[in-house]
Structure formats: C-alpha cells, structure tokens
Symmetry: C2
Subunit: 427 residues, 2 copies
Amino acid sequence: MIDYKKILNDYIPDNDENLRLKDIEDNIIKELKDIILSKSIDAEPVSVGSYSKGTNLKNSDLDIFIVFSKKYSKKDMESIGLSLGHSVLRNGVEKYAEHPYVSGYVDNTKIDIVPAYRIENGQRIVSTVDRTPLHTKYVIENTNDVLRNDIRLLKIFMKANNVYGSEAAKSGFSGYLCELLVINFKSFENVIKYFSKLKGRLLIPESSGKRFNEPVVIIDPVDPTRNAGAAVSLENLSRMKIASRLFLLYKDESFFYPKDENPRYHNRGTCIYIITLKRPDIIDDIIYPQVFKFERQIFNIADRYGFMPVSSEVSVDKNIEILIEMQRDRLPDVSKHAGPPVDNDEAINFINVWKEKAVRGPYIENDRLYVDSETVIKTFNDALNNELKRIDIGKNLNPLKNNIKIIKYKDEKFKVAEKFFSKDLFH
Amino acid sequence: MIDYKKILNDYIPDNDENLRLKDIEDNIIKELKDIILSKSIDAEPVSVGSYSKGTNLKNSDLDIFIVFSKKYSKKDMESIGLSLGHSVLRNGVEKYAEHPYVSGYVDNTKIDIVPAYRIENGQRIVSTVDRTPLHTKYVIENTNDVLRNDIRLLKIFMKANNVYGSEAAKSGFSGYLCELLVINFKSFENVIKYFSKLKGRLLIPESSGKRFNEPVVIIDPVDPTRNAGAAVSLENLSRMKIASRLFLLYKDESFFYPKDENPRYHNRGTCIYIITLKRPDIIDDIIYPQVFKFERQIFNIADRYGFMPVSSEVSVDKNIEILIEMQRDRLPDVSKHAGPPVDNDEAINFINVWKEKAVRGPYIENDRLYVDSETVIKTFNDALNNELKRIDIGKNLNPLKNNIKIIKYKDEKFKVAEKFFSKDLFH
C-alpha cells in the first residue's frame, strides 16, 4: 500500500508557507484594490493559479490577474495593467506572453501580475489568459479538499515521471489538465487506472475525437470549442500510460520521486555530431519550438543525403545544442541513380546526357535506366553546410547561422550528450 | 541507309556451307530411315531447327527429331531414340533436356538427335520438345525467302545487342520468337518500329495480357494455351526497346555487330565481395537458375542485415562467381530496435526483458517502446556465414556449401568483376 499522506507531506506547503502566501496575496490584492478604487478603473484583481485553487505544491508561484472591463482597448488595458503591476511589485520586470505582464519576487515567492479581459463562460476571449479566471472558478466549484489532494498527487506523479508542464520545452500535462482529469475520474487512482488501460488517444469526452486530431483531447469545460490537452505530445501520453501501468504493477512510492538522469556512456560505433550555437536572449516558449524545428530539419537533411540518422537530442541552456546520431557521416564515392523508364520520352536524352560522364552505365535494370555517378556531396559536414545556407531555421535563430558550430562528438562534455546517454522511459 | 545485304552476307552461310549441311542432314536422315524401316519402328526422322526453316546463321547446329507414335511408352521411346541417335552419331554423347538425347559432331557441325512424340496442332504434348516439329512446319508455311532473311536480320540484331537466346543464362528472345515477330509484323523494320514505340508489356495478341503475367506474351500459334515469350526477362524486353529506339535514331550498322565488354575499372568507395565456388559438372540450363537464386539470396541477406546492397553480378565458367556490392560491410556496434506500442499487452514484458541488458533504454518514441542494444552480427562475412548454414541454395549447389569462398574484392582478376565494371545498356 502506498502511504499517500507521507507523499503529500513531502510535497505540499506546511502551515508556515500557507500563512506566508496568504499574507503576501492579501496585501497585494488590497494594494491593487486601493489603487483601482482611487483611480476609478473598471477592473478587479483576482487570485488565480494553483494556490488560489488549493492545488498548489511547495514553493509555488502566486498568480494575480487584473481583470478589466472589455470597454478598455487592448493598448489601454496593457499599459494600465503594467503600471498596476509595477506599483505593487517594486522590483518587478516586464515579461511577455500574449499580453505584457509584470513579474517579481516578494519574500522569495515569485509573483506574476497579469492583465486580462473580464469574460463569462462561453464568451469570446481576446487572448488565452482571459480564460484563466474562469478556469480557477471552475476548479474551485468542482473540487473539495479530498479531490484537491488527489490533484496534487497527480501533479507529483506526473512531475516525477517527467510528463508535467505545458511549456514548449516539455509538451506535458498542465496543472489545469491534472485538475480536469481528477474532477472527471473522481480520484487520483481512477486517473491512473484510466491511463493504464487506455489504448490510443485520450479523449474526454469520447466523442471529441472527431473534432480534434491531437493525441490528448480534453474539452475545456469553460469553452467547449477548445481542446485543453492540445499541447501534450504523443510521447508524454505514452510515458503516462507506461508510468501508470508500472505503478499499478509495483505500487512503489518511488513513482512519486524524480529519478535523476543517469548517463551511461558507451561506444556506439555510430557517427554523433553536435550542432551548437549561443542561445539568443529569448524566452523558452519562443526559443524551444525553433530549436525543435531546427532539430527536425537536421534530421531530415541527414536522411535525405543518405547518412541514415538514428536519433537526435536537444539541450537549451546557455547554448543551444542539437545532437544527431547517424549510421555514417560519409557516403560512398559512387552512387546509383534511377533514370526514366525505358519507355519514357526522356530515356534517349538520359542516355545521351550520361554516357560520357557516368562512372558506370547508363544500364538497364528491369524496366528502367540507371547510372552510377560520382557522389557530389560526400560528408555530413558538407551536406549540412550546404543546406544551412538556404533553410529557414526560425526568426530568432536565422541571424545566428554564421556562428553555428558542427562538432564531431567523441567524449567531450556536452549537456546534450549527457541527455542522449541518459535516455530511458522517462527521460 | 543501312546496307542489309552486306550485313546478311557477313552472317548467313555461303553456298559451300549450305551444301555441306544439306549433305550431312540427308545422310543422317537416310541412315535413320533405313534403320527405322528395318526394325519396323513407328517413327520418322524430321529435320527441325533454323537450318530446316531457312532462318539459320553461319555455323548453326543441325537438329533432327525422331518423332514416335504415341503408342510407345516414354521409356521405350527414350531408349529407342537414344540407340537410334548413337547409331548415326558414332562419337555422340547423351545429354538431358526433358528427354535424354544424343549430341555429336559431323565435320565440325554439331548435331542433336532428339526423340519426341508425334502430335498434331492443338493436341496435348507430353514434353515441350514434342511441339518443335509443329513450330518448324508453321514457320516454313508462313514465310518466304524475304521474310526468312528478315528473321535472320532480327536474330543478328538481337544477338548483337545481347538479348538473343532463350537459355536460362540469357532469358532472351528465342529463334522461334524472332520468327513469330517477323511473321506477325511482316518485316524486320516493322518489328523494330514496334519495339521502339512499345510501352509496357509486349502482348501478341493484345488480349493475351489477361491470361499471362510475363513481360513478353506471344501466343504460340501451334498451341494457343502457351506463351512462347514466357522466358524473356523484363530487362531484355527493355534492352530491345532501347536498342530499337537508338537504331531508328542513328541508323547505324554497328547495331548489327556485337560490342565487346569494356570494363572501366574505378574506385567506388563501396564494399565489393565475391562469393565463389567451383562449378559442378551440370548443364547451364540447370546450373544458372540455381546461381541466380543464390545471387538473390545473398542480396536479400545483405539487405536484411543492413549492409545496404547496391548491385550484384554473376559469372559462371569454371567457377561460379557471385559479386555483391554493398554500401558497407560492417554495422554500427549498437542498433535501435522497435518494441511493442506502449498500449500493447507485451509492453511491460519488453521493458523487463530489456532494462538490464539494453545499452540504452528502453525508451519511448511517439507511441512505441525502443531499445538500443549491442549488434550481434556485425560483419557481412559473419552474416553470410551464419545464413549459409540454413539456406537452400539449390540441389546441385547445396553439397558445395563448405567450399564457398567469400573474398573482399580489391583489384584481383575475376570474370565477374570484369562483367561488373563493363555494365552498360547491353551488358
């Protein structure tokens, strides 16, 4: 039997933390209300996020939204919102999601003050953050203390197994998805049982699969046109299925505690290259999609030129590092090319073009002409450099093209190599 | 303009040869008739083959069939046939096609004396040779001197372009097919025009394509259930299309004179192996199909193990030599293996089996488990030796398995390497 109490104890805030958070939040909301009143602004501060829903873990952030009447223009709302944020977070910095917002620290607790529009269930939103207050309301109204702890258990479980977090870097399950899953299945263990038996996509309700293509479809109760699970990757759904099956089999508390990456370095007899560039000063959610796209492009180039890529890995830290593993980094000197079928109008032309310059042929196999010719681009380095010139690697990476390094990996220390050699079920 | 007369002059027998052949044939037929009469055998000698049809080229063989009444058992027909053969060919040796027959030389001309059953058009044959006398009759009745010379031109053209000969080693057009084509299209040039325009399969009549799958379908006029073109390979059909197109374009007499193989040796940066064994003392038509099958098996093994075969070549002389060219002869030390989908009942079992012995993983990609493991068989040599033990390489090659040599080719002299480096449109 799993001692869920003990696990929760390890993860949820103690009384001191709760009191401290309440204190901070009350103060900020009061301050905001005072300013809003004094300036006759049609807006109110609302506590949102996991703390306000009672589903927070230790050291969570505080999220306070300032919900504006729709009569404000986007520009006005944003500028008033920022000035309100700065007035309560003296050390705050401006960040940018869909709206700009202010982020700062009070007593080591991170606080975001985010402007949004006031909308009702089913009303059209202007930006996705406008929905957040409705989410908070929905979760509070549909949970009790027991369910809230089960939501926390699900978050802990997902974090420990590396499938938690909706940010682009992760493509995992968001906190809100954990809340919806527990509300839907009525307990943590029911959610785990559901995942352990799930075949194929996750569809809540079942009928939603027709409207959405993503691996995880969970219709947002506050907006039935939206798939709240759109960001979850197939891989993370798969990880969650396996984690759930293993947990039900072994009923082991270790499933609630993260396992470190455990690189097992070994010689693979393959060709491993690391493509690296300095990370531009851009937030994760903008940089990661570009890096993933670049990773796919490198993989496709390797594939198209015949270097037989096996796997790839990405690390974004001070540097962007993309690792590509291939079965070879050099092509044979001569390669075989298919020409037209012998019946084709182009056949004679093909013969005339190639008969002098071919290394062998033209010759016939079955119903087609072939020719063996000198391979023009023989090495992965040349192929990648050749393609780099012309491909679009994303708005923020394109300007850095000239500073990309292509390194043949041996045993140097690279974050991405550490990840590569740590690959297991949940890494 | 092509000087067809000159070409024919180079290829068809002069008066001396014609007289000599007539002399030899008349003598043998007379001798056979005398013996048959004296022994009251119900059979008659019939001259068949290209000489008897007037479609022969220089130095052709003589084929004399002894056509037996169907009242004889197969055994009796064969033994009487052989003894008749030996009595007229003192130096004759016994050979075996579908029946045994006697083959020998008179005055440097090769003569085959072949027993067969007497059948009429449309009657059921016992063995394929029974049809030969009907073919001879059909061609004589449907040709005149002009057509016979056009048939000879077609044979010369096909020989020069390496698509002539129905034997297993060639899979080309037989003499009988040349005769049927010219009879059907009424002239050599019409046949060439037909090939030059032909798209897809050769079907005579067009409707025969439904009943037969082969690339060349020419219904035998003496037996409408038979495809006389069954032995022609797609490659030889393709060669004939290209040869015809080029000939009509360049109208050059060189198309009637064979071009020698012209090996152009070069470094290809690939891995070329030659598999060689002593040729057993078996006729070509039996040995070649086994060698071709063995060649395909080697290619498939190379493919299945991941050595990326590019091409192969065969030579049968004193030795059987099979050349295989691959993009590599060594695999990476580690290879990636797909396990079951994560939803599958076997998933947990797969994880448990591999978690200790995997070099990396098990890990998840998309909806499936994978594992990287040590490659067990790393070299082509090991792979081929491993497979050789279990595969069937044909009745006559199987006993020689232990004497097969696998040689990594560098620049040694091998017939098969000469062929490999000579590959062009018609080699």
